[in-house]
């Protein structure tokens, strides 16, 4: 079951990697690299930081196969038709929720303290997309208001799981609550355009702008 969820998250992330290459004149190789970096980048940074050796996709090459397969599929489908944006946002929210929970639990299993495990859960959820954006020359989407709450949803869900496990240890129930809370928060953020404040360009925001 977990295996299925992980590969689902890899597939969804791979597709988002392919879409990031649009209008950038990226070729088939670039598309596959963007897909794999998006899908495996977060977990790779987590494993390196924790000192897992080798990293997870070295031990089990099926992650590379799933990522490459869905990248090729998305590449060819995107030549035929526009992929529906709404569907992709929902699938991506599932990917965020699953990767965050997987990263959180793996970090706890490797004896990371709870605050660090929360950080590494969020890293697993969002770092792949950050590297993807840097590779196509963009400031990471996850830093910007226009995608609405994203990493924040992962952070709250991960903290909720840790709090519940501390109150009533019940991993399988709490895991579902953690994943569901990330998913609900993320979809609510898209629906109601929930955002974090941004860093102002001009420090005093109350005076009328230059006239």
């Amino acid at each position: 079951m977990q295996y299925f969820f992980e590969h689902f998250a890899v597939a969804v992330s791979a597709i988002s990697g392919v879409l990031a290459g649009k209008d950038k004149r990226v070729d088939l190789f670039g598309v596959v690299v963007l897909a794999l970096v998006t899908a495996l980048g977060g977990g790779t940074i987590r494993d390196l930081a924790l000192g897992c050796r080798p990293v997870f996709w070295i031990k089990d090459p099926t992650y590379i196969y799933t990522g490459t397969g869905f990248a090729l599929l998305a590449f060819f489908v995107s030549h035929l038709r526009e992929l529906p944006n709404r569907l992709l946002l929902i699938a991506d929210a599932f990917g965020l929720a699953l990767f965050t929970q997987i990263g959180l639990e793996k970090s706890l299993a490797m004896d990371a303290t709870q605050p660090i495990a929360i950080v590494l859960g969020v890293v697993t959820g969002v770092a792949g997309g950050m590297i993807r954006d840097v590779l196509v020359g963009e400031i990471p989407l996850v830093f910007r208001q226009e995608i609405y709450l994203y990493a924040t949803a992962a952070l709250i869900g991960a903290a909720l799981y840790v709090a519940l496990e501390w109150l009533i240890p019940a991993p399988s129930t709490n895991r579902l609550i953690g994943i569901a809370s990330i998913l609900v928060l993320r979809l609510a953020a898209i629906q109601w355009k929930l955002t974090l404040p941004i860093l102002e360009e001009d420090p005093p925001p109350s005076t009328p702008p230059k006239d």
Copy 2:
């Protein structure tokens, strides 16, 4: 004492990470990530290269707390008033000097050879800022003349410490000399606009081009 210095360097770097997000429409999450990457990025690359596992901020989460706390503080203060640039440059010079010396000594303690320890000292001092600049879509400041001598100050100070330790082993005195020399060189570079030569756009700058 060393603990205090390390956290001071983390705080200063975190603030420089926040400032790099200005005019980039980066939100509160992005600001915290930029701060943490700037503050912890150099030491993370050093630990990964040396094979320290896990990396330093996994073992001691207080680095994450200091970085996040000062990032939030800088975020809110920058909404109220302009941060004084001169003060920041001086604080950043302290950060450069302290991180370089910490990275150098940790690498020597992990049995790196002296030349490699010097390289890893400079990496600890400057790599976090390089990742910060890439994340906001800029060519790293440390590559460019306009900040004046920066990595070069770190390189000279680190080499001086290694040379002194080889001549007269006295770690605590030599450490102070190493840190002070980086600080003085960096502040002198700002004061007198000392720079390295740049890569010319047109190789023969005096002769007329091909005719």
Copy 3:
């Protein structure tokens, strides 16, 4: 002999790193960092993923010396005269072939499965150049059609070596065939402008756009 080839590949990659800094107002320090990142970046990612600790250039500092030396040489020569582009493309093709084969064999020696070893061979061959391009604010050249087949040549040569070793184990002969096939494919790609398909901007390229 292998030692000579590795240092030759480092030297060539270092020069390509220097050239990437052209017209970017990069100073002497930036030039050396770009050179070292290009020359050592791919092998570093391979070693980190495999869990080799420390990474290869920590154990043997001569890689840093070769990279820095050729970077300085290229920096000063490029002030005097234009470097011949044709020669550089051929030297770079040698670098790609050698690094890929080295990465492939090291990964197999570390008990990576064959598909993963092929992936890590390609990573060793191309990742340094990817980081170089990101540092100067460009989308990696290796993602784009305009350099013609590059990573694909490395992939085919690495797969050929693995297939030959499986059919007739003869490492030293197969190694030469692997390197030669990457070299020939890459030079053929430059000569006849062979490319991979790119991700289309507008999915349906034949129908008139929305009217």
